[in-house]
């Protein structure tokens, strides 16, 4: 395999195992290859390939990005990438919290939009890319969120990047929970704002970090945190931010359409919808689609229209996806029983785990981390789970702290009780065999 430098072009595999001893271990991870002091941009590729082909891939990194050949439902076919076989697995790894990605109405709406509009929007939202279906989604979403306006972005990532870089300027302060999504951090970096991180979900540390900041300040939290499944201590965060005169943004990527009596998110759950200044969410989790949104005032919408560069300079969300998301939103409004079903499933699965003594850390949501706390064993356990018929993604350093490796379970309303019982049985069996639980 040739690398792009043209030099050092063979991989460790091709050199018959002549891998430098120091990289032929599992001692290393992605973090070791982030920086390079070399003046040659591509010099890092050689050592990285040695690590990747010498040990990382076969020891378990191949588990990441394996393709599915079915929808992301409760049962999937996975095209396994080490032995190149098709595996039939129970799926606890997809975000599809309300099971809407395959709902017949959603599929029909997307089909109809595909017939009506074609594949893509063929333009930026501020030029020729806006179609009536985009505006309908924005209007209905704003009404659902009880806000004056809502803006649709092509992805969740571009939502935060566009929003923060549109609002914040050099010298402004962005005060972030240390566990917020990378898109929020990247947006702050792109804005060239000053950034402070407070310790995860610790209001006292937020207060400490706000001290000494002046000028324009934005505090950012998430509704449900994606790696730990815990919920924001929003009442305290809002109170501290308000007292300091800072604006507050909540990213409800994993909590909108799921939390609250009507599905308006953690803000509804806490009765703080009007206290939070900016509401962000995605369509790729509970709605099973793609894209993101910002909800707030009409003035915020107007300003973002001109300054959210990630939206201005991207093609608009595909009309087929937009129509599917719109159908999913209407189902969410019409069928609260979907949320009820989700929370029943969450309670059922949690009870199975609790009975077996499985460590789920601080999670209280539909995201349940199965704490392994052993960075060396988790990839092997992941392979064993897959072999036993369960699809779960390992989450390892540097995505989480050292020794906080875990599997991230995503419960869906589309799981049947029998699915969950069988999946839990596989999980508990393997965890016992691997002596993670007794």
């Amino acid at each position: 395999m040739a690398n792009q430098s043209g030099a050092e072009s063979e991989t460790a595999d091709q050199r018959g195992g002549d891998t430098p001893q120091a990289v032929a271990t599992t001692e290393y991870d992605y973090s070791n290859f982030y920086y390079s002091s070399s003046d040659d941009l591509f010099a890092i590729f050689g050592p990285y390939d040695d690590w990747w082909y010498g040990s990382a891939r076969n020891s378990g990194y191949y588990l990441f990005s394996q393709p599915m050949s079915t929808p992301p439902g409760p049962r999937i076919n996975l095209e396994e990438q080490l032995h190149h076989e098709t595996l039939k697995l129970f799926n606890l790894a997809s975000y599809n919290y309300l099971g809407l990605s395959t709902h017949p109405e959603v599929i029909a709406a997307a089909h109809a939009a595909l017939d009506k509009y074609g594949l893509g929007a063929a333009g930026s939202p501020i030029l020729s890319g806006t179609m009536d279906v985009h505006l309908t989604l924005e209007k209905e979403l704003a009404a659902f969120k009880h806000k004056e306006a809502a803006m649709v972005f092509p992805t969740g990532y571009s939502t935060n990047v566009g929003l923060l870089s549109a609002l914040m300027r050099p010298g402004d302060w962005v005060i972030l929970d240390q566990n917020v999504h990378a898109s929020i951090v990247d947006g702050a970096i792109l804005a060239k704002a000053q950034v402070k991180f407070f310790r995860h979900n610790q209001p006292a540390d937020l207060e400490k970090k706000l001290k000494g900041t002046t000028g324009k300040r934005l505090v950012v939290v998430e509704g449900v945190y994606s790696m730990d499944g815990d919920i924001a201590r929003l009442p305290e965060m809002v109170e501290i931010s308000k007292r300091a005169g800072a604006r507050i943004l909540i990213d409800e990527a994993h909590s909108s359409f799921v939390y609250g009596a009507e599905g308006r998110g953690v803000v509804e759950h806490f009765g703080l919808e009007d206290e939070v200044d900016i509401h962000v969410g995605t369509f790729s989790k509970a709605l099973g689609g793609q894209g993101g949104y910002v909800a707030g005032s009409q003035s915020l919408y107007n300003y973002l229209m001109g300054f959210a560069r990630s939206r201005v300079f991207s093609c608009a969300l595909s009309p087929a996806v937009t129509a599917g998301v719109l159908a999913a939103l209407r189902i969410v409004k019409r069928e609260p029983q979907l949320r009820q079903r989700l929370w029943e499933n969450v309670a059922h699965f949690r009870s199975l785990l609790a009975t077996a003594g499985v460590d789920v850390a601080e999670s209280t949501s539909q995201i349940i981390p199965i704490m392994i706390r052993n960075d060396r064993k988790i990839l092997g356990i992941a392979q064993k789970l897959q072999k036993e018929g369960l699809y779960l993604q390992p989450i390892i350093f540097p995505a989480v702290a050292k020794h906080r490796s875990r599997f991230r379970v995503s419960i869906s309303a589309s799981h049947s009780t029998a699915d969950l019982d069988r999946a839990a049985a596989i999980l508990i069996k393997v965890l016992r065999e691997e002596e993670i639980i007794k």
Partner: protein, 230 residues
């Protein structure tokens, strides 16, 4: 020490402990040469590494050492030992004059030019180090353990003075424990030793804690990698 290759220098230690503390990159950049890049675990936040050694054997006898450094981008070369991390030590303190002169001569390390006092106290699952100078406290640090395992890790240390820019490559063989459980702590006192730090900006809880015991530190010969400067 008979397994040493020509030019290698070895030190034996009872304990080597370290804490990684986030602190502003703005502060870090004042402590390292402009051509080095501090590692940022979070945007705008670099790492203050505080290491304390309880050396039990060396060519200059037993001594204690306190090293303040900033983790920086390593030099990764295919076919060479892969560094686990790289550091720029910006201030070193030792308990003896002999060890100080030895490290300045061999490794070009910037030193606090007076003896300091370093006391280790080992508990059930934690170790504390108290560093002081002439009755004034420098810092107190507490590090906790996790699972122990024997390791051989490679590290790089960069030095820069008027005579040149240097790289030291070292292997650490020891019983090793590392965690990111945020159970440790540090208290930094106003002192000339810590004058380069803005104590309010240094997190008081380490995001990573390291503890090596009954180990040896083996240095390869110092490499000159660039010119000197102010």
């Amino acid at each position: 020490m008979s397994d040493l290759k020509p030019g290698q220098v070895q030190y034996l230690y009872r304990h080597a402990i370290g804490g990684f503390f986030e602190f502003p990159t703005e502060n870090a950049r004042k402590l390292i040469p402009p051509f080095m890049s501090p590692v940022e675990p979070h945007h705008g936040q670099s790492v203050l590494s505080v290491m304390a050694f309880d050396f039990s054997g060396s060519s200059v006898g037993e001594y204690g050492e306190l090293v303040l450094s900033v983790p920086v981008a390593p030099r990764i070369t295919r076919g060479q030992p892969m560094p686990r991390a790289a550091f720029f030590p910006f201030l070193v303190g030792t308990t003896t004059k002999a060890s100080r002169e030895h490290a300045i001569k061999l490794w070009h390390l910037p030193h606090f030019m007076d003896d300091i006092q370093i006391e280790f106290e080992v508990g059930a699952h934690e170790i504390t180090v108290a560093a002081a100078h002439g009755g004034s406290k420098i810092l107190d640090m507490r590090i906790t353990d996790y699972e122990w395992e024997p390791v051989e890790h490679y590290y790089q240390a960069f030095e820069h003075d008027a005579t040149g820019t240097y790289m030291a490559t070292m292997a650490m063989n020891a019983q090793f424990s590392e965690n990111e459980e945020e159970r440790g702590s540090i208290e930094i006192y106003p002192h000339a030793f810590t004058a380069g730090l803005n104590p309010d900006g240094v997190n008081s809880t380490p995001f990573r804690e390291l503890w090596m015991r009954d180990g040896r530190q083996t240095f390869d010969p110092l490499e000159t990698i660039g010119p000197g400067g102010a």
